[in-house]
Symmetry: C2
Subunit: 370 residues, 2 copies
Amino acid sequence: MSTTRRIAIVGGGVAGLGPAWQLARRGWDVHLFERDEIGCGASGRAAGMLAPNSEVTFEEEQLLRLGQASLKRYPRWVEELTDATGADLDYRRGGALIVAVDRDDAEELEQLYQYHQRLNLPVERLIGRQAHRMEPGLSPSVHYALFTPGDHQIDPAAMVEALGEAFVAAGGHLHQHQPVAKVLIGDKLEGLGFEDGSTEYFSHIVIAAGPWSSQLEGIPDGILPSIRPIRGQMLVVELGEPPLVEHVVRAPDAYLVPRRDGRLLIGSTMEERGFDPRPSAGGLLDILEGAREAVPGIYDAHILDYWTGFRPTTLANQPVIGPTSIDGLYLSVGHGRNGILLTPITAYGLAETIDTNELPSILRPFAPSG
Amino acid sequence: MSTTRRIAIVGGGVAGLGPAWQLARRGWDVHLFERDEIGCGASGRAAGMLAPNSEVTFEEEQLLRLGQASLKRYPRWVEELTDATGADLDYRRGGALIVAVDRDDAEELEQLYQYHQRLNLPVERLIGRQAHRMEPGLSPSVHYALFTPGDHQIDPAAMVEALGEAFVAAGGHLHQHQPVAKVLIGDKLEGLGFEDGSTEYFSHIVIAAGPWSSQLEGIPDGILPSIRPIRGQMLVVELGEPPLVEHVVRAPDAYLVPRRDGRLLIGSTMEERGFDPRPSAGGLLDILEGAREAVPGIYDAHILDYWTGFRPTTLANQPVIGPTSIDGLYLSVGHGRNGILLTPITAYGLAETIDTNELPSILRPFAPSG
């Protein structure tokens, strides 16, 4: 293989796996290095709501456009990944319900509705009766809700697994439990140094190690943005029969995501606690209270699992994707709470950038500044 | 060995293990049969509060006396068990705090205080400041508390393990994963039939299988009381440094039990759900809310574990201990939430009954009716 198309991806979350797979399909010699196991940071622990519309806030229109562009690519993405692996990704396009449980929430939802209207985003206003018809398990205190039919959902853990498989099937080299210590840069990019002391040559390198990226040595100052872990706790309960909910339900203090495999994911906290993986009593309490407020029936649901994840978050709250000022060194970091949504656009867009040397216009607002 | 002193104990909780150990020490040929592992029903999952005083309610004075008699035997019991095994049972005599978090609770506590006074039980009334001096982690809303210096605590899982070891060391035969199917009774007691189809002769048999006892075949009607499982959920968090609490704290909707090994047990629910072992969202929610109300600092505590247990509970809410109308057949069942407290009196008392054919007077109110 040509040594001028020998690329290393540092990090086995979706920000790395997606571009790695696409580059392998484009004939590159791709090596992905993950310090632990693929998906173990944020990707495999996400809820998988694909909701650029219901997550939109008033200052993030660029990010909204990126999310919508990525969502538009999702059907093709899922088809390609399913063709490559046969995996069931539990991809669904049933829309999401955003519910208000008191008058203050309703006021906020009304603002959100107006904003959606202004941006021409698909959204429907529901009074309580209509919301309860869609989701009979909603609390009687839900008098107002928005339905965002454009929102999709997917099983992120299944997607991570499928991506690893598809990457290897496309000829990629997957190195798990192989921690990278250092990016080797002399006059130009030289390769990677590993914690075991070995080094390898690469013509191109993508940094995709989320909040752990800053622990890599050898990257000159000003290249990497600051990326901190925003911790999220998730609780998994039995969905039950009939299911507690059929749609994604977003309540003021928790969201509920039903899965075809009979699980109901309940999330999530936003905590600044560094990399502490241990769930806390208060975290569980908050999401349980938030979920009960919207769907009282969760009270009787059996607990199946709980975990914490770390959202890789930049100060600007948006990802940084593209080439740096060092020839051959690329970033795919800081996807925050939107990593699963942004997986296709990141994968297709960054692979194209690296393969053709041209950054697609949709990614330009997110290009590295250094 | 004499075949007239060949005894089977059916059930490996403390109600069976305690008498089994004492009978082995008295020279009997003792075989204990446990369908799963010792302590897996209620015994190993209890919190281990030894609190006849703070658990006293207004209709249970006989049970209170039994509990006090058992508590009095605890120091000797722990000493013997420690001598036999060297185990650390985390036995402590620091007393317990019963706290009120609102005016209604305070009224109830005042009633309990009067009742304790009437029965001459050791109890101290504390105003908020005094309670906070003892436990700085208490909520500011705790304005009134009782301190019951006579309450002790122990680690039940450690005790179960030590009992198994002491039993074997005393010559007992411990058969785990050996489910008993049937008690064989002809003209007189003949022995046991096992689920694997085998049978064994025994001159004496003790039924100590808690709520599972009624699943045994062959016991004539009217011998066994009705025993149902009352499910309890427990959450274990990190005690922290400095510890969140130093004493057992009993709040209106939860109790907190600190352990020397750095764990803090938070319990517990009382649920009638049969033998379903799966913790529920509502159970965790209730005990977390109950604990936070009394000790707000648990909000930040890391979660270590959670589990469910099944308290073997009779309709009269008291244990049934002693000989039945069938010669050689004994019961040690229905200890409910008091099993750990009642372990010494059950062990010493039932072993003496079987060995000497005389039921000690303290046990007489709890003798089988059939």
